[in-house]
Symmetry: C2
């Protein structure tokens, strides 16, 4: 003991020396950048504004007592307090670097002292609910974010702290937390999933700050350092070759934060890794693919588990945008994204972007082009197609999903589409069943209805076979298969088309969906032509599902309303959540109209013998009102082979305040199937004003050069390639 | 014949001379004003903008062929065409006067020539549906608007036209139309109702243009010229002494147009009438009362038959605002209303307002004060109370309705309230059941569900007795009675209160509702305290109804959901339209929380033995989806005497995009009834943070000076006047 006490100063000296050997901060900002930011603040409005926002948040925090409460439930006060604490610490770290004002460093130190008291007393959080537990938080995911942020804060005041403080924090908080996240939970750490990304980033960034090579190696290559897990493997497997993220846009905006923060830290500390060039610049592609899926207002389409409002202002998107701008060649389109974000990050990346942005008056919000993303790490597992037309202010967007399932957050929704027009999803995706962070709603976690409704096939705009979800809603089965790209052509802005195939989601049922977005100069709004073809050896029930935003207006089929007693439409696979509100049958081809915002929308479909229509509303078997009571339409046929050929058209104008209404009836008169077989489908769509189009689609193997010749009813149709659209004379 | 042909020129000469004796235009604008407008256009941005808007509309019309189609159905093309035609003719008339460009006069003449062909061929419109028929339109109401507008157009080109044109138009259109509206439909013409106002205005303005004293006299005094009908009688009977319009804000915005247009025309042609001073300047009061009911964004509260979006941009409000500004002393508050309207009328009134408005940078949107309006022509038939607190940008508004029924457009809704917060009605009024001008929805007319649901008591936030609407939903019975003002005090901005009584809406049931809006500096948002007291000799079912905007979050009573089969809550009086979605009972005093926009709202009520709660959704017995599927809560007790004492509070914050949620649970803990009798009610409301208030209310005759002393449970409460609110120490 006496001996130990004697050499303690020496041991400390060695530890400190090792620590001091490295310049700090080193992960997000370096001292020289902080100086530059300070010098440029008053010249660069966006930088100034971002700095002031940060300063305001922290200065408010400085006025209040620091609170480091014991762990609480998800969404509750304690949970939110710990989240706010890490935000404030990171921000205070940056402010300390930029301003040099020690009060910011003191704030972090005081808070860390409290964590140094608390953390060693904590075991696994008792309210984990099937998730990997944290100790501060109910799930380890939140704990990783805490560590990612706090590592940066610590990095910023590392040199300012006394060695004994550092030892205390590292011993009581940082090293045990890193162990907890890696060695004690290797499954979560090595998982190829956004949780894994956060875990390796947390441990890896801490490793860079502490200059602990062991931590960094585990972060890069997995707990076993064998490359089966870790950051690089995640970059290999979570993205398709063109950058599409397998969990979809809502989760990439969440994963962008660790991906870009760790990459930036690696670039600064392990430049030899050339992380930004890794896998043919996969991070660049990842970021661009994320923003290229957005609606024109910057909101991510809510495919898979997702909220309907998540947008490019999310912190990860702000971080990724600025880093991508600085590291990948200063693309002016990213200045346009900034217009929707309104703030930059406080390092060299944000500084350089703010310099180019100026006062923003010359910056335009980017108008993304139609694009197709391949899915799967190899790019051979289907994809996501997005067709766009119109200006940023009145853009129409048609999105079809035909990729992989997407693991735990995936939905059973292949060949599902979203139709966006007039600044809203008029044929929407429900998104997730979750009231995020709303404590009385199961702590803001995913609700039971997320599994029983939101993930199910009937919650999407696709066809349900036999009232059973794709892959019987078995996630493991669904993860083994994927839909297939058929063809995609957006080269003609007036006629854009995408087509995809699903063979593996319903046994024995081949499905092909081909969607056109036609923007004809003779008509007011673009319209959608949808050819959904199913083929089977045996008869099935095919439910063509369309969810619509707004209010039912009219239908040409007489409704039989279930308006004095109401039952769910089915018993399982999401149908148990749909009230059967009305049924309809009719002789003429079916049409119905709804109103959303200030436009009318009509669905017109081809004649289908014995077809039946159901109008439904979400809300059955929802004892806690967890779901939103939205309307939908289901067109049901019993058939072996079947083609649903339909038009969806915006039309007219409704303004309640001005009491104006024009063209409330559909402009399309008929959708006629001329014929379809395994080679092709031929339909004709016609409007009341006499405009008509003949549309031919290739149902065989995709080819841009193959000649097709089909004869139906003694009429012969010829075309070359995957499709042909002929506008006929009146 | 030969003789007649000989003197025809003479007759024409006499006719023309009589016509020419009067200067034209004379009703809305005079030539000299037009000159002034032209001179000032470039100096006054608002005037310029208004002129350009008008010019754009007419110039577009000039590019297209003139269409005067045969009459069609309500909301259909023909109907809308005739409406657009009168708008274009009036606008063209003003443009002719201002610019002197004859193309505008030609346009009107050409269009009138077509009407001169069509009109004589028409009989009563076949699709009147229980309304007084027009000939061009299904209801005469539209025809009166046509004539009001076209008279002004004709006035503007009167001098430019040839005498034979004038004779043709007057013979074929104007005089027969005026006869149709007055002598052939005297009931509609003499009716004390907005339809009557439009009729007399149409005939009266035409009379002024034609200098036809007979027409003018009928317009002023009724078809019999005995003063039992006509414009002056309408001014006498349709408004309370402080200007509140008996049909409510939605209809006054429609009636403002004829009231102010005809008054302006009379002021110019019959200045001796002193119409603007009539009945102690009742038109001024009428306009101010209308705008003082609006929500802060300029939307009229949708009480009675009304849309939820009608706002101060409506043409009648623009017209009334500018005329009231010019004729009643240039009140700067009316410049503020202009900020919400964005355009002025094109005559001296608009010119002078535009001059004061300048570029609008110094103009502020008015922040209306709390106010009470009396109702009934004598001001003794109850009233409407509006309490407001907060700035224009985050104003809270509490409105209670306790006046007359309001005739055909009235709802059975006495003691009903609306609570507005965060820029929306979080406890809303349903408004009307009508998709206005939406042709497939019954021609845009009132729908059957307007009677069966929207007018019924249960569609409102009040108490329904025995599941029957007030006055058994008999309009004639309801028009005979009214609620009574009790007291209203907005003198203390922190504690505002209004109280009203209904004795005549349910036989043998006395009802008193007292509502406080309390804005305490110690808490974040203002809250409502609601004391609804009922007294009867026999037991009744009392249903306390609360409609809420948004999504149910949680309740402290366990819900029993009817989620596998759903029935309507009742069979009549609107209950047949409410799905009974869930029921709840519990021992603790009931609380429930919903989320709307970015705030939470909680309803907390006193303990009620054997109370039961129903959560409902609109939509049962609605076979055509005419209604909007909104949620509501009904608290039911069986009782003779009863006090519902409740708090409604905004709290916390929810931002889905930012994934933030704070304070999702109610801050109030309990509402406790200490006692209530015919002299007074005493309650205590307390929050979880320890803040408490004792609230005493006078239930006897209103008096600001009377001393009260009540003893409940050995505790004595003393106060003077109508109420007392005591904030207790923690």
């Amino acid at each position: 003991m006496k001996f130990l006490r004697g050499i303690l100063p020496l041991i400390l000296f060695i530890l400190v020396s090792v620590g001091m050997a490295k310049e700090h901060p080193c992960t997000f900002i370096m001292h020289q950048e902080a100086v530059q930011i300070k010098q440029n603040l008053n010249q660069l409005p966006l930088l100034k504004q971002s700095f002031e926002q940060t300063k305001k948040m922290v200065d408010q925090a400085l006025q209040k007592p620091i609170d480091v409460p014991p762990p609480g439930e998800a969404g509750g006060y304690e949970h939110e307090r710990h989240k706010q604490n890490y935000r404030e610490m990171r921000a205070a770290g940056l402010l300390y670097q930029i301003t040099g004002d020690e009060k910011y460093a003191q704030f972090i130190k005081k808070m860390l002292l409290k964590y140094a008291d608390l953390y060693p007393t904590l075991g696994p959080h008792p309210l984990a609910h099937n998730q990997a537990p944290g100790r501060l938080f109910h799930q380890s995911l939140n704990e990783t974010v805490w560590l990612v942020y706090t590592s940066q804060a610590y990095d910023c005041i590392y040199d300012w702290l006394q060695p004994e403080d550092r030892q205390l924090f590292e011993t009581n908080i940082f090293r045990p937390m890193a162990r907890w996240l890696s060695d004690e939970h290797p499954h979560e750490f090595n998982r190829i999933h956004n949780h894994g990304t956060w875990s390796v980033t947390a441990v890896g960034m801490l490793g860079l700050v502490l200059d602990d090579e062991e931590m960094v190696q585990k972060a890069l290559y997995g707990t076993e350092k064998d490359g089966k897990g870790g950051f690089l493997k995640q970059l290999d497997l979570l993205f398709s070759p063109n950058g599409y993220y397998m969990e979809g846009p809502y989760y990439i905006r969440y994963a962008l934060r660790p991906f870009f923060l760790f990459a930036e830290a690696l670039e600064r500390n392990r430049p030899d890794l050339k992380i930004f060039a890794y896998r043919d610049s996969i991070l660049k592609k990842a970021y661009y693919s994320a923003i290229q899926t957005t609606f024109p207002d910057g909101v991510f389409p809510p495919i898979n588990d997702a909220s309907r409002t998540m947008n490019v202002q999310a912190p990860g998107v702000v971080i990724a945008n600025d880093i991508a701008y600085y590291r990948y060649g200063k693309d002016p389109a990213l200045l346009g994204v900034k217009k929707l974000q309104g703030k930059v990050i406080l390092n060299i990346c944000g500084l350089e972007l703010a310099r180019a942005y100026g006062d923003g008056q010359k910056v335009e919000i980017p108008r993304w082009k139609s694009i197709e993303f391949s899915d799967g790490y190899d790019g051979k597992q289907g994809g996501l197609g997005i067709l766009r037309t119109g200006s940023v202010n009145d853009q129409t967007m048609l999105l079809m999903k035909y990729g992989v399932h997407g693991k735990g957050h995936g939905h059973f929704d292949k060949l599902h589409f979203i139709f966006y027009n007039q600044g809203r999803s008029v044929v929407p995706d429900y998104g997730f069943a979750r009231w995020i962070n709303m404590e009385p709603k199961f702590g803001g976690r995913y609700l039971p209805e997320n599994n029983t409704y939101a993930k199910q096939t009937v919650a999407h705009n696709t066809v349900v076979v036999d009232q059973v979800s794709q892959n019987r809603a078995n996630r493991k089965e669904a993860d083994k298969v994927f839909a297939k790209r058929h063809f995609f052509d957006a080269s003609n802005p007036q006629i854009q088309v995408m087509s995809a195939i699903s063979d593996n989601h319903y046994p024995g049922v081949h499905m092909q969906r081909t969607m056109f977005l036609i923007d004809d100069p003779q008509i007011e709004y673009p319209f959608v032509v949808d050819l959904y073809r199913l083929r089977s050896k045996v008869k099935h029930t095919y439910d063509y599902v369309l969810h619509f935003d707004g209010q039912f207006v009219t239908s040409n089929w007489k409704l039989t309303a279930h308006d004095s007693v109401q039952f769910p439409l089915g018993v399982d696979f999401g149908y148990q959540h749909l009230w059967n509100q009305a049924e309809a049958q009719g002789n003429d081809p079916f049409q119905f109209t709804w109103v959303s915002g200030q436009r009318y929308y009509s669905f017109s479909t081809s004649s289908q013998p014995d077809a039946k229509v159901y109008f439904v509303r979400i809300g059955a078997h929802d004892p806690n009102f967890n779901l939103m009571a939205e309307p939908g339409m289901i067109l049901r046929v019993q058939r072996d082979d079947c083609l649903f050929a339909s038009v969806i058209e915006p039309h007219g104008y409704f303004n309640e305040a001005q009491e104006k209404s024009f063209n409330a009836r559909p402009a399309f008169k008929e959708v006629k199937i001329i014929g379809h077989n395994d080679e092709g489908s031929v339909i004709e769509v016609s409007r009341k004003d006499g405009l008509r189009w003949q549309i031919m689609v290739n149902n065989g193997p995709a080819s841009e050069t193959q000649e097709h010749q089909l004869t139906f009813d003694n009429q012969t149709f010829r075309w070359k390639g995957n499709y042909k659209v002929v506008k006929l004379k009146k």
